[in-house]
Symmetry: D2
């Protein structure tokens, strides 16, 4: 392992997932916590040559005026996570990372997200698309230079945007570049961030259901710039369970008649998803894989509801109604009571370590399909089953270890 520094650039830097990621990273750097929840800490990845926790430096883009210290305290009190002693010990690190956070952009994020904005970001309202893109890119370049970073991984953990228009999916990179120049095309913020990343030579990972880099145009760009990217929508709870359980129903030829899933939680993400437009993006992401795995479409229902008292704790209740032998109906139900950000944060760190390692191999570009097990709507693969996706990751690890 070298002692080169590596940059983590978080879009949505002071949100729940980001704050938990940074809190966890700081605690890992000081050896204050075991490595539970981290896939990259499993035995099968120990010979891959992943970066050490000590090598990482954090910065990011935000649209609200707060800080890691404040956001972590809020999670501690509101959701009963972290312990007071750890928060004390890492305060210095959090403050250091706070100084690397810059105003992001509100371009085409819709009214619900816009209404959250406070502080410096409000000063950039009148920029053209090109000006914004340039500013975001410069933030990355400056971060890398100032901290002497070998590489920067840009990680989108910002609020879920409204769904994009269909048109953007049919554009090539040169089409899209032209439209940005012309300034007459509503490009989603998540995509703008992704472009900035790839053009600045960074890797880009999209942990959100927003479109981000999941576009032919961005695949073009990543090939041209020799950069890496992947997404989208981190697979942490109910959908993870679906990608685990549905193969069993398929393999046992049990006919799933209906699969109902209700999710309740009370964090900021939940508040944004309470807007039906933003929610539609997430529901789609949670719903499609059943059909892909089963090979037929059972009646499905996915609800996501904002229940304030839950804080960052999400409870999913799933009711699976299936027919067995002689058409006999049977039922499986599960409840999943997890803390949303604490499920997401280690995966964010894993994705960064795996991405950086892939970049370090040299000569790699385009979509990283081997990371599909981390996503609800994975790019670069057709395999919806978790265990088949995980096989891809293990195969990659063996390949890299052998190099």
């Amino acid at each position: 392992m070298s002692d080169q520094k590596i940059g983590i650039w978080l879009i949505g830097a002071w949100g729940g997932v980001a704050t938990t990621t940074v809190t966890g990273l700081a605690a890992l750097q000081q050896g204050l916590t075991p490595e539970y929840g981290l896939v990259s800490a499993l035995p099968q990845f120990q010979n891959v040559g992943l970066a050490d926790w000590s090598q990482f430096v954090v910065g990011g883009h935000e649209i609200r005026d707060t800080s890691y210290v404040e956001a972590a305290q809020h999670l501690h009190q509101n959701s009963r996570v972290f312990d007071a002693a750890t928060l004390d010990k890492i305060e210095g690190t959090l403050k250091e990372f706070d100084s690397n956070v810059r105003p992001g952009t509100l371009m085409n994020v819709g009214p619900t997200i816009t209404s959250l904005a406070t502080g410096d970001v409000l000063n950039h309202k009148d920029e053209t698309t090109s000006q914004t893109l340039e500013r975001l890119k410069q933030d990355l370049v400056h971060f890398q230079k100032k901290n002497d970073l070998a590489h920067v991984v840009v990680m989108n953990v910002s609020s879920t945007e409204p769904p994009q228009t269909e048109e953007i999916k049919s554009l090539s990179w040169s089409d899209l570049e032209a439209k940005i120049g012309a300034g007459d095309f509503a490009i989603p913020a998540s995509t703008l961030y992704a472009i900035a990343a790839l053009q600045a030579g960074c890797s880009h990972v999209n942990f959100t259901p927003s479109i981000g880099c999941d576009l032919p145009a961005l695949e073009d760009l990543s090939q041209q710039t020799g950069t890496l990217h992947v997404g989208r929508d981190g697979k942490t709870g109910e959908t993870l369970m679906k990608s685990i359980l549905a193969p069993m129903f398929a393999n046992r030829n049990l006919n799933v008649m209906s699969w109902v899933g209700h999710n309740i939680f009370g964090n900021l993400d939940g508040k944004v998803l309470d807007d039906p437009v933003n929610k539609s993006n997430k529901v789609h992401s949670k719903d499609h894989l059943l059909t892909e795995i089963l090979g037929y479409k059972p009646q499905t229902l996915v609800s996501i509801e904002y229940i304030e008292s839950m804080g960052d704790w999400k409870t999913a209740w799933d009711h699976i109604h299936f027919q067995g032998f002689l058409g006999t109906p049977m039922v499986m139900q599960f409840t999943w009571q997890g803390c949303d950000s604490l499920l997401a944060a280690p995966l964010v760190l894993d994705l960064i370590r795996f991405t950086e390692r892939q970049w370090r191999r040299g000569d790699q570009s385009g979509t990283m399909g081997f990371l599909s097990s981390f996503f609800k709507s994975p790019m670069g693969t057709d395999l919806p089953q978790f265990h088949k996706q995980f096989d891809l990751l293990e195969a990659w690890a063996e390949e890299v270890s052998a190099e």
Copy 2:
């Protein structure tokens, strides 16, 4: 597909699983039911050349005096399974199969099972071990001859025996054969049935937690006789879920602190398992795989309780307490409400079809490890994960299809 007849010989012929298997088979033969629950009906097994439902003829050994018609009616009324119209239509077939059922043996089955015995089996109490073995073998030979069967698969679906002594596990076949001759060794009934099967040139499958053919001596015998066998303990409910879910906790590095599973049901199997000696066999079978999959031993608890009102419906409640990132405790719970015999019966049919096909390849003998996905304590494999076991089955199917 040929129109050769194939024999199914059920040990525990009028029990819940057996009766449901035969009811289902008869319904399938008349095209009265869809093929839900049957693994062998999946698309990936359509080119393997499995036998048709119409080819099968049923017989078996029992220790209680009843019949398929009576047993099926009891399940219908007591457990609200099957429909009245189907039962009417298949009555003739059931009666035909009833005529092939012969008295089994009570040798070393322990007091709880012995107390169930009624009818003809009571006339065979004074036999020596050799005499019993010979009788059982003759029943198979006679069944095959009378019905002009190309092959017979013997399937043990009888009550769970008490655990066996350790000594038997260290014996070779010649040791064991000598002891049978000497008549001074307590050989479990399940093993006696298995020996009879292999010596009669039949295949043998053990769907129960009893020891059956899971002994070095029986592996010797199967090699010598060129016969096939596999076991043990059909994986139909809670343990199936464990072999599906535990890999997820392992792959996500979530630290399982405790896994508690409570099972309630009210059928005859439940009554036998209410005897703590018989139960110990089953609990062991349900418990070991967590450690194998996780690589460490969480605190576990498995209870199986006889609750009469449940009839053949089993409810399992599992509570999984795990630590995620930063040591945060989270909980997953599931309930599984399935009808025990209806989950088991299609697998019994699958095992018979796959076994017969393997036999038909010719020149095969010994343990059929490719059938491990069907068992809680599979023989012939070290892989505890369901999906890896299922891969073995699919690989076998490709191999056979290619022949």
Copy 3:
């Protein structure tokens, strides 16, 4: 007990609740079933002098063209309820009752209910309100006369209507009567049925969330006609649980922060409630009592979703998030897996028996508050706690027994 005949007139005569009520009544008349689920069969009501099952004769209004025999078969096959033998034995009775069913009215029932209509009811589309009222009344009079009935209890078990306008709640009976005459007021069908009942000297019970007799005008009318009435919305499942559990949270000073309830089911009622307008009526009925019992308003969520595979089986999942000592959050969850019509039907029979007995006391009129324990939105009482409502019923029984 006398051997006078008593009429049961079901609005929604061939629906799920009605069909189950009639199936159960016929089975009780022949002694084919125990009296489980019947409140009126409890020991504390044995000296009240309730009518015998043998005394009841059934008729009703419908808008769809079917029959008890057909509807009961459909429930049997689709929802696995009733047993085939019972259905055979009661076929004659069902056919007899079928002959008493008359076309109802579609006045102001909204598009979803209207779309269900088939058969004779379509011939009455052009009637004025007065004509319809007269026709419905004559049906009751004719039923009573033809069958020589001492009394008729009209029971509304028809589909849930859309919510009514506010205006109707402020009208006196003479206001409303005038408006009916004028023919320019949109009077809900449920109220029209109630008026017909009271004017024909029948008692009226509203088992649905529709407005029915829950109006000052109808209370006026019942006083004037010396008739009895009560409602509304039978309390059979999740709301019953709420009225049982919420008092515990109140009495133990546990602070309910949120109460989330999701209901899934797949019967015709569910299909009608899938229309958001009709559903709003039901959701309101399920939601208000928490605030009444707790004395403050926790965040609540009630969802009702049509999941076809469930048939008449309803599963409710409730998640109650509460704070105990030192503000510590805790959770109670329950699932309720009941068959909707089978929960409702015995209450329908109970309400009829209790109502008829109250009528038999003589000189009684107006709202029967002592029946509040049967309703989600009870009339004639302010007590939302189930046990306090049940105390009223027991007190009534003691009073009547003493007469």
Copy 4:
């Protein structure tokens, strides 16, 4: 309200329930927490004239050498309860109360409890029963005098003892007194503590399933000494639910076929209850009331299992299988996820306040039946339904308010 001081004497002073009670009391004294969970804080008890939190002083008997500060820290870290800031602020009060804790007695507590003992209590092993009784009494007298206390309520919150012999239940107080003098009778520690309390003129409340004061002899003694007492086994979780839910099944004539309850938790109480002898006491206490409420005996199962990872959090899963109309089987299940000590502690404080108030009325003695809603096995009442028990408390409050 006067400013007289009142003593709380806790048997099992540094256990989980006791520590939580004292932590909560200290927080209430400083106004650091809302009064959630406290029955005595409900509106209906505001005119009763209950004592203020500021009036209470704590002492007690223990058999392990620890302290409130240490025990509270352990609960905080192990079970994620209390918050660090509150613990800081109340440290002084806890230390003050620590100085009032004295060694208790190990007389007849059985091997499991004896094995927990550390510190001073080990010096009293050779005492006779009379000497121990005298010592315990002197501790109470000294506590009262030193702190100038108007009254002392002795509250047993110590570990569950093994079941007592039947003989003791048939003794009068003079019989028992003679046996204590003779020194040849195995009197349970819980009863010895109760005798000490009553002889010292204190009130005595038994929050445990141990026999304590639930004996004719102790009722005699309380009458003779003009003292108050009540018990036993605080009703905080699953059994509370049973006393709430079972009346609903009874009132609706739903036939409960089986009621299965599994409890898992990981605190010290759980460790003691892991001894089957001690557990039998608790299971009996949780089981009897179903039959009392329903009027018949369904099949029941209550399991209590020690699962270390749970800490003080208890999860109960209950499965209720019942028959409704036409004998149709249905299911209700619930899970209760509560923190055991935090459920118990406010009830301990309530019981003390209500008891002290009853004492302050003057001229009261014997069993306080009006407190039955707090207990699993209540003394002084035959009513098993929670709501009827709560009615007794409200009636008492009205009576006292009116004085």
